[in-house]
């Protein structure tokens, strides 16, 4: 620079000096701007795959309730899917629909369509009035099909699609003209709409959530969910239902993916009462509460445990979780030590306390042996046999459902007779399961499950409290990952301090949000979510926000080969 200055004319020197100053100032200003702009703390993420997922019965029902109101009775039952890495939601992308299921869904669709077009409902569910009730009305049919079709398909219907459906409605009006059903004359126009609505309700695009990607304008090499797919992913994640009108509109007019758009949408969704439906569905899945549908206890051993008890036990835990995490925004980990819950009369029998009719907040007293979710009837009864408690099932459930650990299946050829036909000299479970630890092929796994379950032995197979078993005092000492304690309250405290507890929730929430188990390359994102969750006081709502707004949630991988996908899936397990 100095050599150039020496060899230049004065005028050039002046220009060069001012140019240099300007450049320096510009660089400084640029540096200042860079320094002031927010740095995205989320690590780079490859994102996830686009998926085509089967809608769940609950999602279908919730969506119909939003579109048509809760007055429409839609008894939706879909065939169960297999649990994959802790969640049913992880299997929806590989679930299909059999012919039998289609018939079942068609039955629901037919019932819903009939109710919507019933004279008691159609005046408020069909916004327009036909010119004549006996003949086609394309304008009114178009209005209805466009509005309902958009909400059901989670996107605006194309003109061709609308024309096809309206044409079908008109054709049905003519075909059904003058006919009767169950002795009643069909109202032509509405009968036509009923036929079309039934068809819409079982349309593949309604039953399957089809995600699609587009290049990210900020990085054309990178794919992201398109606006409608992002809206659907957010809505099914947070509300367990299709996007509402406002979210669809944001997707349609570009607002959703404009600067700050997704933040506004997620903020609104997190404040909506519909978040409760979404999180109830998530925790129901994570805690394996679908097993309540088939849970039964031996009525001669646990006569007090009825189907109402099972139903209320599930409800109690879900109410407790929602109140703790969403209503009070409290630390997720404290769910396992909190004495606050809700009580119903049927459930109060199990807890040996009085109860008012209906559900009411309830706090277990300080001298109660119960505190936290592990001491609720739901966890205790679900993780027991029909006629007895199970230290192994309880320990395994805690590890797999709450800590996201895998307990291997028992090796083949195990002799269970020592447990099923116990020596009468061994009155308590502790003495009976000691056999586990004496057998080398059993001991490896049972060492990580049984000490947990033994600390819950003061609760029988139905969740009732007891101090003795077969006349012998129960020793409820146990341990979890090196921490020793006496009884269920100690277990709850140890679990709440276990670092794997919040990490497991993060992993499950992210899986649930994106529709599949996290692949290996999601590790950095999961670490970021874990740190953020801890920094924000382990508050669920903040975790949901962080994940919903993350790149790991909305970015899409660039079509990996099937081989890579398989490899990634396998190694993530």
């Amino acid at each position: 620079m100095s050599r150039v200055m020496r060899r230049s004319t004065p005028r050039f020197k002046q220009w060069l000096t001012s140019a240099f100053r300007g450049t320096v100032m510009g660089l400084l200003a640029l540096g200042a701007l860079v320094g002031c702009s927010p740095v995205d703390p989320e690590p780079e993420s490859a994102g996830t795959q686009t998926l085509t997922k089967l809608i769940t019965a609950e999602q279908y029902g919730n969506s119909l309730a939003y579109i048509f109101g809760s007055g429409i009775d839609a008894q939706v039952r879909f065939a169960p899917v297999a649990r994959n890495e802790g969640l049913l939601a992880n299997s929806l992308a590989s679930a299909g629909v059999s012919v039998g299921q289609v018939q079942t869904i068609q039955g629901v669709a037919s019932s819903v369509a009939k109710q919507v077009m019933d004279i008691e409902n159609r005046n408020h569910l069909v916004a327009c009035r036909p010119e004549s009730i006996d003949s086609p009305d394309e304008a009114c049919a178009t209005q209805f099909v466009s509005k309902i079709g958009r909400l059901l398909f989670r996107r605006a219907l194309t003109d061709d699609e609308i024309a096809t459906f309206v044409g079908q409605a008109s054709a049905a009006v003519k075909e059904l003209d003058g006919k009767e059903l169950d002795g009643e004359k069909l109202d032509g126009f509405y009968a036509g709409l009923e036929v079309v609505l039934e068809g819409l309700l079982i349309h593949p695009e309604v039953l399957f959530i089809v995600e699609s990607a587009e290049p990210d304008p900020n990085n054309p090499e990178q794919l992201r969910l398109d606006a409608h797919s992002l809206a659907s992913r957010l809505s099914f994640f947070l509300w367990n239902a299709s996007p509402d009108d406002e979210l669809l509109m944001a997707a349609e007019n570009g607002e959703l993916q404009s600067p700050g758009g997704v933040e506004r949408a997620v903020g609104r969704m997190l404040e909506s009462p519909r978040l409760v439906d979404g999180m109830r569905a998530f925790f129901d899945d994570m805690l394996v509460f679908d097993e309540f549908k088939t849970l039964s206890k031996d009525a001669t051993i646990y006569p007090e445990f009825t189907s109402v008890t099972a139903q209320d036990a599930r409800e109690q835990t879900l109410r407790t979780i929602i109140d703790h995490t969403l209503n009070k925004d409290e630390d997720y980990r404290d769910l396992f030590t909190s004495r606050s819950t809700f009580m119903s009369p049927a459930l109060a029998i199990m807890y040996g306390v009085p109860a008012q009719p209906g559900w009411a907040p309830y706090t277990f007293p300080e001298d109660s042996p119960r505190s936290g979710l592990l001491t609720q009837v739901s966890f205790l009864s679900l993780t027991s046999h029909p006629g007895r408690s199970s230290v192994t099932l309880r320990g395994m459930a805690l590890r797999e459902r709450l800590l996201c650990q895998t307990v291997p299946e028992p090796p083949p050829g195990i002799d269970f007779s020592v447990l099923t036909n116990p020596d009468a000299n061994y009155p308590t479970q502790r003495q009976r399961v000691a056999a586990h630890l004496e057998t080398p092929s059993c001991a490896g796994c049972h060492r990580i499950t049984d000490p947990i379950g033994l600390s819950l032995e003061q609760f029988d197979g139905a969740g009732g409290y007891r101090l003795t078993e077969n006349g012998a005092t129960i020793d409820a000492t146990g341990s979890l990952d090196g921490i020793e304690f006496d009884g269920a309250i100690g277990l709850g405290e140890a679990l709440s301090q276990n670092p794997a507890l919040p990490q497991c929730l993060v992993r499950r929430v992210y899986s649930y949000a994106t529709g599949g188990p996290p692949e290996n390359d999601a590790r950095a994102a999961l670490n970021y979510f874990n740190e953020d969750f801890a920094a924000q006081g382990y508050q669920l709502r903040n975790l949901l926000r962080t994940i919903a707004l993350s790149k790991a949630f909305s970015l899409i991988k660039n079509s990996p080969s099937e081989e890579e996908r398989l490899l990634a899936t396998t190694s993530s397990r």
């Binding site: 006569p303 049927a346 199990m350 040996g352 008012q356």
Partner: protein, 359 residues
């Protein structure tokens, strides 16, 4: 009428003691009140079964050697107004007349035979403190048992243990919360032996909890006291627990809800309880006198003609029998007794009773 504790005769003491010993031998005795079923010396029970009780050991042959009453309302109507002749009947002189007999019963003689139950044994209590010739002996050998109701209804199929009333009255008691009747023991130090407890009766508001078999009832449920419409069902009386058996002093009038589809109750006069107690349940009897007119009125309100007929019951005939056998509460003008002694077999299950201040 008698007072149960003061002025008790020697024979009463002996019979009572015998009764208690017998029940205690059945294994009712328990130790101290266990948690969580009692709190502050209180324990509540809710009624889960009730039926006017007839001693049926030995079968029909033993109590009804001449057979069972066979003419219910419809049979009587058919006998009175045969339709196979030429005679023409008016509605007024047939249906309305018989309807009137049901709702305004008479004690005049009637042409239909009515069979009283025979025998010397009956469930119940010695309500008047006497051992009269027409009194019964309890199954445990206690003399002086007052239960003339057994004579009046014991040979009528509808009232026997396999009759429809026993089944349906309990079914309705279970299924209709109007019929929810509860007792609460307070001041209980020991559920096996306590010579001074207070028993309060209430009407409850809530459903019962059946167990997983659907047949039994679960202890530990909750029942709110009906403080608004249930005041007439509240009575308080002292009692004693001896070897696990509670016996109360008499209550002048205790109102027991007893409705089928319609509102109804019985006012039981000189009402007493004798119950075998456990922390989870109570079973035994209540005994007392029932006014014959009220009994008939309740029968007609709860059970229509067809129900009465398939139990071969005719309330008009039954009323005559009840008045003939009535053994207490004489009419001040005529001197004829108006109320009949009887007993009901009852079963109760422990509940937490929620008083208005706790609701």
């Amino acid at each position: 009428m008698t007072h149960f504790w003061p002025g008790t005769t020697g024979s009463q003491v002996r019979t009572f003691a015998l009764f208690i010993i017998t029940l205690a031998a059945a294994g009712a005795a328990t130790a101290e009140l266990p948690e969580p079923y009692q709190k502050d010396g209180r324990i509540g029970y809710v009624l889960t079964r009730k039926a006017w009780v007839i001693y049926e050991a030995g079968g029909v042959e033993a109590q009804c050697p001449e057979g069972l009453n066979a003419s219910g309302v419809r049979q009587q109507f058919a006998d009175l107004f045969p339709m196979d002749g030429d005679e023409q009947w008016t509605v007024r002189e047939t249906r309305l007349m018989r309807e009137g007999r049901m709702w305004h019963p008479e004690t005049s003689e009637e042409s239909f035979p009515y069979l009283d139950a025979q025998g010397e044994v009956a469930y119940g209590l010695n309500l008047d403190g006497k051992v009269d010739p027409d009194d019964f002996r309890s199954p445990d050998g206690i003399e002086g048992i007052d239960n003339q109701l057994q004579r009046a209804i014991g040979c009528t199929p509808g009232w026997r243990s396999d009759g429809q009333f026993v089944h349906f009255e309990s079914l309705f008691a279970i299924g209709h919360s109007y019929n929810r009747w509860m007792i609460e023991l307070s001041g209980v130090d020991d559920l096996s032996n306590d010579d001074d407890v207070t028993v309060t009766t209430y009407r409850g508001l809530d459903d019962l909890f059946t167990d997983a078999t659907g047949d039994g009832f679960i202890a530990g449920g909750s029942q709110r006291v009906d403080a608004r419409w249930g005041q007439n069902f509240v009575e308080e009386v002292k009692g004693k627990i001896v070897d696990g058996v509670l016996t109360t002093e008499p209550v002048k009038v205790a109102r027991i809800p007893w409705a089928m589809r319609f509102v109804g109750y019985y006012d039981v006069l000189d009402f007493q309880l004798q119950l075998k107690l456990t922390p989870e349940s109570a079973e035994g009897i209540f005994a007392g006198y029932v006014n014959a007119e009220q009994w008939t009125n309740r029968l007609n309100r709860n059970w229509g003609s067809h129900h009465q007929s398939y139990g071969t019951v005719s309330s008009a005939s039954e009323y005559r029998a009840m008045r003939r056998l009535a053994d207490a509460y004489p009419d001040p003008e005529t001197g004829a007794n108006t109320a009949i002694s009887g007993a009901a077999e009852i079963e109760l299950t422990q509940v937490y009773i929620l008083h208005p201040s706790e609701q």
